[in-house]
């Protein structure tokens, strides 16, 4: 099976610091892959390289067989890659619905002239966009909050809204940057369920960064581990869990795995 996303020997250097060092990861279509690693291991930097915020110094990123290197973030989104952010970055003064409508920006094509004249085609497109936005909000469970200004949403729901906004661009690959960070256990469960539904019901490939080991172990099919920018392991959760290097680098030499599973979110 060919990979939907193929990261090949990607390297990103900031000043003298190699944040991402020669990393290879392949992500199969309709899979759920986790990227883990201690703080500062270069996980978010890798995501930024994937979405065009950073340009890697070396390496190749193939999405659907085509290179993403050198594309602008909006072009990458147009190809079908969407993301959420570690520290929530919603359009704060917009309502939840408007956030999702912005997410659909690329999928709307009515010209600005037709917007001025309110042509029937443009009106139909806007109506369809609203319907779709409401469906997405319902999908993540925010249907009753469509008209709420997004800064006024509770933290956990802001994260869900970020997912809905990302879905607006109808992505085939969704990058989730610590989707469960700062959530309480029941919210975390809801998010894990959502991740599964995204894949099962919408057929979206998921690549996520997560610190919460419980989430990582239960949700992912493949886990890649970064440490100091290098990939030190990759495999099924069980394989990674058993990998001595991961245990040492990620969890510290003397720690028993059981403990970390209960470690509160970082």
């Amino acid at each position: 099976m060919t990979a939907l996303l193929s990261i090949q020997a990607v390297t990103k250097v900031f000043g003298g610091l190699t944040a991402v060092d020669n990393v290879d990861v392949d992500i199969a279509e309709r899979s759920i892959t986790s990227l883990i690693g201690p703080n500062g291991a270069g996980k978010t930097t890798l995501f930024n390289c994937l979405t065009g915020l950073h340009r890697p110094e070396a390496g190749e990123i193939l999405f659907d067989g085509r290179s993403l290197i050198g594309l602008r973030p909006d072009e990458i989104t147009a190809r079908g890659v969407a993301r959420t952010y570690q520290n929530i970055r919603l359009f704060g003064r917009m309502t939840a619905l408007e956030n999702v409508l912005v997410g659909q920006h690329l999928r709307l094509h009515a010209s600005h002239w037709s917007a001025i004249l309110r042509s029937t085609r443009q009106q139909a497109e806007e109506r369809a966009a609203r319907t779709f936005a409401l469906e997405l909000l319902a999908f993540v469970g925010l249907e009753s909050h469509a008209e709420v200004v997004s800064t006024n949403l509770p933290y956990g729901e802001q994260r869900l809204l970020e997912v809905a906004r990302a879905l607006g661009s109808r992505p085939s690959l969704l990058l989730l940057d610590e989707p469960a960070a700062g959530m309480n256990p029941s919210e975390t469960d809801r998010m894990m369920e959502l991740v599964h539904r995204l894949r099962d019901e919408m057929g979206i490939t998921i690549f996520l960064i997560e610190h919460d080991m419980k989430v990582v172990m239960s949700v992912s099919e493949t886990v890649a581990v970064l440490d100091y920018g290098e990939k030190i392991a990759e495999g099924t959760p069980e394989e990674v869990r058993a990998n001595a290097r991961v245990v040492e680098a990620y969890l510290g030499p003397e720690v028993v795995l059981q403990d970390t599973a209960d470690t509160p979110n970082l």
């Binding site: 900031f14 930024n48 065009g52 915020l53 950073h54 340009r55 602008r72 973030p73 570690q86 520290n87």
Partner: protein, 357 residues
């Protein structure tokens, strides 16, 4: 912090886009044009070397004055991340106050006395101008900026524009439209001649004084407890206040220092241009801001060198390009635009760019 880091690096990505290419081409075209004008017109005119030297000296003098004002922008920007748009007016008020002090000294005949008396009188004139500027500067901070510290960034900028207009037109209403002319005392009105180059005393004095003031500022910031507090607040206001630094006091002192330098600059610019009036702070203020940006706003040595470079370019530019001197403002603003487009962090780097966004 994260957004700013993202932006800084986002710029790197767009590197290969057409836009960046267009900008590069645009910059290169301007560079070629400038070089072409300089070689074909400026140098072809065949001015003597002494002409260029005296123009350059002129530029240094002007640059010294700009540097004092630019430091005010940079100091305030470094601590509050706001452009004190009214800083040029603070300078102008120093100039106006200096004018009155000068009138007073003249009416007392101090300026015709023996040279130590004249020197002391001139110092007093400058101190008076500085005091007036400091007063205006801290009032400005208290009334127009402090209530807006938590506001979105557009808000204090608009408040500053309002304050700038208010100060200009208050001076117009109070002191009238007509320009106030500085009459130089006999002691400093001459000049000396070195070879073919004539150096006016005022120019030399202005340059030396501004260098001394800048050194004093540098000493305060680098070597004193106060300076350490200022740097700490610039670095991270919240943490500094947790460490026991009185942030408000530091901000007030920053405004005082910046305004004092601006006041001195106002008085010296008065002697240099021979007149001050209500709007004579506006354009120099913009120029000084340009200088601060040129050197990397928030960067203190950068502001000093940026101002000297700007002064030189402004003095030499029109003759070198063979265009009328009326265009010297155009040169300065074009330079500002170009710098911000091609090197937004300035020639010497914006020290505090991390926290900007």
């Amino acid at each position: 912090m994260a957004p700013s880091r993202l932006t800084a690096q986002a710029a790197g990505v767009n590197g290969k886009t057409a836009l960046r290419f267009l900008l590069r081409a645009f910059g290169a075209a301007i560079l070629v044009l400038v070089i072409w004008r300089v070689t074909t017109v400026g140098l072809a005119e065949g001015y003597p070397a002494s002409f260029w030297i005296s123009q350059a000296l002129n530029g240094l003098v002007l640059g010294g004055v700009y540097a004092l004002v630019a430091l005010g922008y940079t100091l305030v920007y470094g601590i509050l991340f706001m452009i004190n748009f009214a800083h040029g007016e603070v300078m102008m008020i120093g100039g106006i106050a200096g004018f009155f002090a000068l009138q007073f000294s003249q009416s007392r005949g101090w300026l015709e006395g023996p040279w130590p008396v004249v020197v002391v009188a001139l110092l007093l004139i400058m101190l008076f101008g500085m005091a007036a500027s400091v007063l205006i500067g801290i009032t400005l901070e208290r009334l127009a900026y402090r209530p807006l510290r938590q506001a979105p960034r557009l808000v204090p900028l608009i408040s500053a524009i309002g304050a700038s207009l208010f100060l200009q037109y208050s001076v117009l209403l109070i002191f009238g439209v007509s320009p106030h002319s500085y009459r130089k005392p006999a002691l400093i009105s001459g000049g000396m001649r070195m070879g073919d180059v004539f150096i006016p005393y005022t120019g030399a004095i202005i340059f030396i004084t501004s260098i001394l003031l800048m050194l004093a500022l540098y000493f305060i910031i680098q070597r004193t407890k106060l300076g350490r507090a200022m740097r700490a607040v610039a670095e991270d206001r919240a943490t500094a206040s947790l460490m026991g630094v009185d942030v408000n006091a530091v901000i007030v002192i920053t405004f005082m220092l910046g305004s004092a330098l601006a006041g001195a600059a106002g008085v010296m610019l008065g002697f240099h241009n021979t007149v001050v009036k209500f709007n004579s702070g506006f354009v120099p203020g913009l120029k000084a801001f340009t200088a601060a940006v040129l050197g990397g706003i928030g960067n203190i040595p950068g502001a000093m060198f940026g101002a000297l470079i700007l002064g030189l370019i402004e003095a030499i530019g029109p003759s070198a390009l063979g265009i009328p001197t009326e265009y010297k403002d155009v040169i300065a603003f074009t330079l500002l635009v170009l710098i911000l487009i091609f090197r937004p962090t300035g020639l010497f780097g914006e020290v505090l760019s991390e926290k900007k966004a």
